[in-house]
């Protein structure tokens, strides 16, 4: 296996054309921090786009950023910070969770895995922020889709399709993203000692109020105990975040603090709040606990029932229950039949995120698709990559 480093889109296209001519396959990678996510892939060569890096155009007043796909997230975040802006989807750093170093992810990898943080239920995922892109398809052609303005409906929305496609539709080479002003202030209200079902009921109620909360999470005690200082107690931690204009955040946080005062509510401000949400997004507390980790995206109301039926050793709930990370004992069967069945029963979507290569190969990673969606998935894959050059099998058998 050789690694092909490409420095521009044409070299990426050349590499694909060479693979087509030789009948070989390519792993598409940025800086390889999420290799543990998805089904293990064995290919003839690696197409590495991490040298395809740099800013093409950043226009803070247009809320637009265009960069090459291999640009490190740290570079992007630094550039945005200088203009007091952010990526709306609050990209967490999953490097350490998947056994890679931190602060190494690229924007291309974040988009390919559609990695979004705690704010997603409010401001969307990469799929909501990617406005346009250039890429190389499995015909060895460089093409583009979408646009470089924040509002555009010209042609099919292929940017959506590229997000969460795990490189199976080909390497992105250039991406245009929508950015947002950074919130002026953030405050978090925390509550201790609630059971998960009670916490989830409370979080759903807050989500249904016009309070504009941007973080609605609950950690079971097994995870919360790893937090520093006074937060590190082995009981459930429920957290509600507000971000925005100073006056609005103060008003809302004060109202909630008053409401839950008798329940022992406390307010976390500034850096303490930021740190907590960074650790929730980055799955930092799950890194400390060994075992299998399943991610379940669910209708929020079903979260408590799903967790009850699966019975995890520890759980992190986000998006008011719309997202769960469930920690289970390591076992050869990965609890796959149980988790898949419970997820299916509640119209939820399970992903086996932390397990050995053997387990991920044996049980698959993503929620199995019904026959119709599986057919569309195959046909869409073939529309971009009929010869199966890119990341074969990363998502599903043959995809």
């Amino acid at each position: 296996m050789t690694v092909i480093w490409v420095y521009n889109a044409q070299e990426a296209a050349d590499a694909v054309n060479a693979a087509l001519a030789d009948g070989t396959t390519l792993s598409v990678r940025g800086r390889d921090t999420k290799r543990g996510l998805g089904r293990p892939v064995a290919t003839d060569h690696v197409l590495d786009i991490s040298r395809l890096a740099g800013t093409i155009r950043y226009e803070p007043e247009e809320l637009i950023l265009t960069v090459k796909a291999g640009t490190p997230m740290t570079d992007i975040e630094m550039m945005l910070r200088e203009q007091r802006q952010i990526l709306p989807f609050e990209p967490p750093d999953w490097g350490p969770f998947f056994g890679a170093p931190d602060r190494r992810a690229t924007i291309g990898g974040v988009l390919a895995a559609d990695v979004a943080g705690p704010r997603r239920f409010k401001t969307g995922a990469p799929r909501d922020a990617l406005l346009g892109f250039a890429a190389v398809n499995g015909f060895g052609e460089i093409y583009k889709a979408g646009g470089k303005v924040v509002k555009n409906v010209t042609g099919y929305d292929l940017p959506k399709l590229m997000c969460g496609s795990y490189g199976t539709l080909g390497p992105l080479t250039e991406v245009t993203l929508k950015v947002l002003p950074a919130p002026e202030r953030e405050d978090t209200i925390i509550l201790r000692g609630l059971t998960a079902p009670d916490a989830l009921r409370l979080l759903r109620a807050v989500a249904g109020e016009p309070l504009d909360a941007t973080g609605l999470a609950h950690l079971t005690g097994e995870l919360a105990q790893h937090l520093e200082g006074a937060l590190g107690v082995a009981e459930g931690l429920t957290a509600i975040r507000f971000e925005g204009a100073r006056e609005a955040v103060e008003e809302r946080a004060a109202a909630l603090l008053e409401r839950y005062r008798r329940g022992g509510a406390r307010r976390l401000g500034g850096e303490v709040s930021r740190q907590l949400w960074r650790r929730i997004g980055g799955l930092d507390l799950l890194v400390r606990e060994p075992g299998i980790v399943w991610r379940v995206a669910a209708p929020p109301f079903a979260a408590a029932a799903i967790a009850g039926e699966i019975g995890p050793n520890a759980a992190q709930y986000d998006w008011a229950g719309g997202l769960m990370w469930l920690l289970l004992d390591d076992a050869p069967h990965s609890h796959a039949s149980l988790v898949r069945a419970v997820a299916a029963r509640h119209n939820a979507l399970s992903t086996l995120v932390r397990a050995s290569d053997e387990q991920r190969t044996a049980h698959g990673v993503f929620q199995p698709q019904d026959e119709v969606i599986a057919r569309l998935t195959r046909d869409v894959k073939a529309a971009f990559d009929p010869n199966g050059v890119f990341n074969p099998g990363r998502m599903f058998e043959g995809i």
């Binding site: 509002k151 959506k160 008003e251 119709v372």
Partner: protein, 495 residues
């Protein structure tokens, strides 16, 4: 702008096709008499009229599936239609195709407050979703100006926006799932009530696909708690450039208003004459900024926007003091179409998006073109996201006027793409901008899109002749054509 020539071999089989569909469906579901079909001969792009082979009104998903499978097997084209309010001709019938009218599928199926979503059939109007949940303090965010009539199925097909989409997103950002029937009659359930997809984002792909990939038979949308308060500001500027600077400065100050709309002097004059919303008539440009949130938050934001606007040279600035006053401020803007229609016999409406920094220079170039061709133009502009709607005023009875207007419109759209923008911000490509696609996309770009089309509809039975240019690309460019003042749905707020 023209429809593809009808396949006469299909047209010749019309009686058999109608009989075949009638055999599949309940009585009254197939409309084939000439007089009744006249109702369906166009959508809101009235420049082209064409009666379909017949109109078919299914009442269930199963009926939709049976109709599509029949059409696939018999080689008949299908044009899906929601409420027929498309401004780009997305629902214009074809002479060799049936018109699949989704109006009977108009029920709200499930209001789920616990999961903050609503499941509806595609014929439910956009506004009806908000009406169904407002008693509990919720609403559906995307609000195209035609929301009292346009259907949610059509919104999904067009990825509709609205004046609040800068802050709250387009249809695609507020959609959780659809049920969609494919051309072979297969029913696909894409997404559901989960906030994150798994596998390829087919939901994102089919949203805005303009009826070319499948027919949506059920829609699940996210609903949001209504902000406690919204207030609108009316700000006058001595020049478009000053107003443009104010918009950039508001965003640079870290404020994303719920709505940010700019109107030029000619539009303001027309709206004031139409419904007297109280706009300043001495200003060259008027900005509406809407701020929402809690009372304290809104007060703070209004003070900040006012300070920014005054620094940019605003000559007047006031904020609504009541809900009635806020709605009055919006009434003028939402009546842009009807108001402008009253000051000229005919008009063409464009829908390009430009980078906002180009606003002053683009409007200056449009003004130059206007002087050169002798046709006035009114400009309304979704200023926050750069979506420009120039309304070209002309008189079709004057020889040469229509051609001049079309050329003018072509030049405007070329300009949008030239300065880094796009052909359509919210109206869709449809038939009106189809032949202009090569101005924005290279052959490889279009080929990739068409391969995706083939994955869903390999025989090109769904809405053929829309979105993708034919081999006979002509210089027809994007616009909404309103003829003789008698445009369709004149009562609807627009843009």
């Amino acid at each position: 702008m023209h429809l593809p020539p009808p396949d006469l071999s299909i047209v010749a089989r019309r009686a058999d096709i109608v009989a075949g569909l009638r055999a599949l469906l309940p009585d009254g579901a197939v409309i084939a008499d000439d007089e009744s079909l006249a109702v369906y001969d166009c959508d809101a792009l009235t420049a082209i009229r064409q009666k379909p082979l017949c109109a078919v009104l299914p009442g269930t998903t199963e009926e939709v599936a049976a109709i599509l499978a029949f059409c696939r097997d018999c080689g008949v084209n299908v044009v899906p239609r929601g409420a027929g309010t498309s401004l780009s001709g997305g629902a214009i019938p074809l002479g060799d195709g049936i018109l699949l009218v989704m109006a009977k599928l108009n029920r709200v199926l499930d209001i789920d407050y616990e999961n903050r979503c609503v499941v509806v059939q595609p014929g439910v109007t956009n506004l009806a979703i908000t009406k169904a949940v407002e008693e509990r303090g919720f609403y559906y965010a995307p609000d195209p100006s035609s929301q009292i009539a346009c259907s949610i199925g059509g919104n999904v097909a067009e990825n509709s926006g609205g004046v609040h989409c800068l802050k709250y997103g387009l249809t695609t950002n507020n959609l959780l799932g659809v049920e969609m029937v494919l051309i072979d009659g297969t029913v696909a359930r894409i997404g559901g009530k989960c906030g994150a997809p798994s596998g390829y984002d087919l939901l994102g792909l089919v949203t805005g696909s303009e009826g070319l990939l499948g027919v949506v038979t059920e829609v699940t949308v996210r609903i949001l708690p209504k902000p406690p308060l919204a207030r609108a500001m009316l700000i006058g500027f001595p020049s478009i450039a000053a107003a443009g600077e104010a918009v950039a400065a508001i965003i640079a100050a870290g404020i994303i208003p719920a709505g940010l709309e700019l109107m030029d002097r000619i539009s303001v004059g027309a709206m004031e004459a139409f419904c007297a919303p109280g706009y300043p008539l001495d200003a060259e440009a008027v900005l509406i900024a809407e701020l929402d949130g809690t009372a304290v938050e809104v007060d703070t934001l209004i003070a900040c926007v006012e300070a920014v606007a005054l620094r940019a040279g605003a000559t007047s600035c006031r904020a609504s003091g009541s809900e009635a006053e806020r709605l009055k401020i919006w009434a003028g803007r939402k009546a842009a179409f009807a108001a402008t229609g009253r000051i000229a016999p005919d008009m063409l409406c464009m829908d390009g998006t430009i980078p906002r920094r180009e606003l002053a220079s683009v409007l200056e170039r449009i003004a130059e073109m206007s002087r050169a061709c002798g046709l006035p133009v009114a400009n309304v502009f979704h200023a926050g996201d750069g979506n420009l709607h120039p309304l070209i005023l002309y008189d079709v009875m004057k020889p040469g006027d229509l051609e001049k207007a079309e050329t003018f419109g072509n030049d405007i759209l070329r300009l949008c793409v030239e300065v880094g923008g796009v052909l359509t911000g919210e109206h869709g490509v449809g038939i009106e901008k189809r032949d202009l696609m090569p101005a924005m996309f290279d052959a490889e770009d279009l080929a990739q899109q068409q391969r995706v089309k083939c994955a869903f509809d390999p025989t090109h039975r769904l809405n053929p002749g829309k979105v993708f240019p034919t081999l006979h690309a002509c210089a027809e460019l994007g616009r909404v054509h309103i003829h003789g003042g008698a445009f369709r749905h004149p009562e609807l707020p627009r843009l």
